[in-house]
Symmetry: C2
Subunit: 387 residues, 2 copies
């Protein structure tokens, strides 16, 4: 049975993984919309390969290039943020929401309001706009499938069980490449060192977030929105091999864990085929070859990001949106070699202490808070004693 699918963010890494799975199972899928920010020629090539109905660039200035690249096909081309939301609102069986950053908020919301099933890979939608998104899902009768490997793992460990029987969610973290450094060594970590993640091949921003553990902090906030077990019942456990992607402990002390290769095609396949399963072209996990899995408690003295994120979601309201925006600016400053590694989280915490807007009620509110938090972060970056 063919199902229809739209892919918001087709040219990024989640997009590539999703399309690779569709490529291996072509008969099962009819691609409706593919979107990108501005990679017009890559987008056009994918739209041709997958015979999409429409291709959309978020940046309208890239539309002429897209049109040219699609000439001679009957694939529609469109551009701009309104077009993005219109494409996202087309009725499909499945939407993969994989636009990075706040640019993804409005199209994700449009897909939710259309009431379908959303495989959510956009962190900001839950971190910055968790309550708004959840209300919209409820109103529209949409379904959310978490695509992040950790949240997808938790979702799988909950299958056939009830959230009220959960004693504890155990969010695993690689601990990043600097897990074993001293406080002094951490200060002199370079951009190049931070860009090498031991287990996952990801974009620069999320790789730095992994190194600071802010990625786990943001995932903690996401987990709280997805799985209502109470903040005090979500633990973080460092597991450097990233083979166990997360766990759920039930009140009988039984723990279920999801394991797998460090490849996003596994959680994406779980979303695409849910509640069934589908083939993936991956080498199966070989634990005898891997040999050992290790675990340790997180060190929040050296890596305060998870503490900061926990405090932000405890504070609630706009705090997680502020944290997310401030962190983005701080990571950018680190990548531009303006600040040292340990200053990334210091900047985020400093912005959280200075800017506490009221609870956002709409996606527009979230975008305004996001923009203002970025300004605050830029201002903090100008204060030499703070960074």
């Amino acid at each position: 049975m063919t199902r229809t699918i739209s892919l918001l963010g087709a040219t990024g890494s989640i997009g590539a993984s999703t399309l690779d799975l569709i490529r291996h199972n072509r008969a099962d899928w009819q691609v409706e919309a593919l979107t990108a920010n501005c990679s017009a020629s890559a987008l056009a090539q994918l739209a041709r390969e997958f015979d999409a109905r429409i291709a959309v660039v978020g940046d309208e200035s890239c539309l002429p290039e897209l049109r040219a690249a699609l000439e001679g096909t009957d694939i529609e081309a469109a551009g701009g943020s309104a077009a993005l939301c219109e494409a996202a609102a087309r009725p499909v069986d499945m939407t993969v929401a994989a636009i990075v950053g706040c640019a993804g908020l409005a199209p994700t919301m449009a897909a939710v309001e259309a009431g379908g099933t959303i495989a959510l890979a956009n962190k900001e939608a839950l971190v910055s706009a968790g309550d708004i998104l959840k209300s919209a899902i409820e109103r529209a009768g949409a379904s959310l499938l978490p695509t992040d490997s950790e949240h997808n793992a938790i979702f799988q460990c909950l299958a056939g069980n009830k959230v009220r029987e959960v004693r504890r969610i155990i969010l695993t973290a690689s601990g990043g490449p600097f897990r074993t450094l001293s406080a002094d060594q951490l200060k002199s970590v370079t951009r190049e060192q931070a860009l090498k993640h031991p287990n996952w091949d990801m974009g620069a921003k999320i790789t730095i977030d992994s190194a600071t553990m802010m990625n786990k902090g943001l995932e903690f906030i996401e987990a709280h929105h997805l799985f209502p077990v109470g903040l005090e019942n979500i633990d973080i456990l460092v597991h450097p091999q990233s083979i166990i992607h997360s766990m759920v402990e039930y009140r009988d002390r039984s723990v279920l864990a999801q394991l797998g290769p460090s490849d996003m095609r596994v959680p994406i396949a779980s979303c695409l085929a849910y509640p069934e399963r589908m083939e993936t072209p991956l080498t199966p996990l070989d634990l005898a070859m891997i040999g050992e899995l290790t675990f340790e408690a997180p060190n929040e003295e050296l890596f305060p990001a998870t503490r900061i994120a926990r405090e932000a979601i405890e504070a609630g309201g706009a705090a997680p949106a502020v944290l997310n925006a401030a962190n983005e600016i701080a990571v950018e400053a680190f990548l531009n070699e303006r600040i040292g590694f340990t200053r990334i989280t210091a900047v985020a915490e400093s912005v959280l202490a200075r800017y506490m807007p009221s609870q956002p009620a709409t996606m527009e509110d979230v975008l305004a808070i996001d923009a203002e938090a970025r300004d605050h972060a830029r201002a903090v970056l100008e204060i030499p004693t703070l960074v």
Copy 2:
């Protein structure tokens, strides 16, 4: 809501664990029948504590002692194998079938034929009489919940999923205490050394089976009957810490694992509360404290038991019943210091090569095969060059 429960094998270790859980959740359970082989006074004490309706000893010669110990109560007392089966057939919400050995076959079958839910902890029912038991379950519309920690783990990892989506079942094995010994060292293993299991506190027979890996071989056969994924899709993985109790890999390469403390109260609680969960009085798993989980491929050169078991279930028919009976006699001979450690599996394999009765059709057939296989094993033990 109070549920009724009968416990076949109340004075053994599974019985004690089950009753401890009921003790912590007394308001939820009304105990119908408690049975034992001959421990009349222990049985009477439990029957009094849990206010059972009937207490039954399998060995009729122990009935007078039971009657005396229950004097002054309105708890019925009965004895003998017919009484055991009658008690097992009383309608209850849940029967825990935990009688050790072939003595458990008839009462387990009686409970199955009554059509209730059976938490099955009796290995022989599946190993020696798997096909007969499964037909009876289907006929009676009974439900089977696996109580062995490994099979319960697999059952939990299958929740919300379909067996046809399974790529592989990964049965974990501690590898026993002699995992790291050489072939020569294995030959001189003593009874005392073999009786020390690193992770589980169990009876003597099953502790020796753990050391030879025959326990895993028998579990392999059980897994085959419980989870029809094909023999070639059941793998054994050595995991010395026994924290992961087994795993299921799906065709998308996602692996679900069940972990927990090495305490039978966890899988028993999972059966008692199924499909809900219940509280257990156990210390939760602390992976940061445990530190590491290791894995290695099984060594079937040194520990041929899993190979022998695989060959027995591949041969089908009566072979698993013969293996089980021969192994029991061989373990007994080892415990009596008549044969060396490495001869246990050699005796079992030798009996399998000599005695191949036709497929049993009834529990009586199984019992006859069991008795005859024991005679063959005793005969093999008399051949000095073979043992």
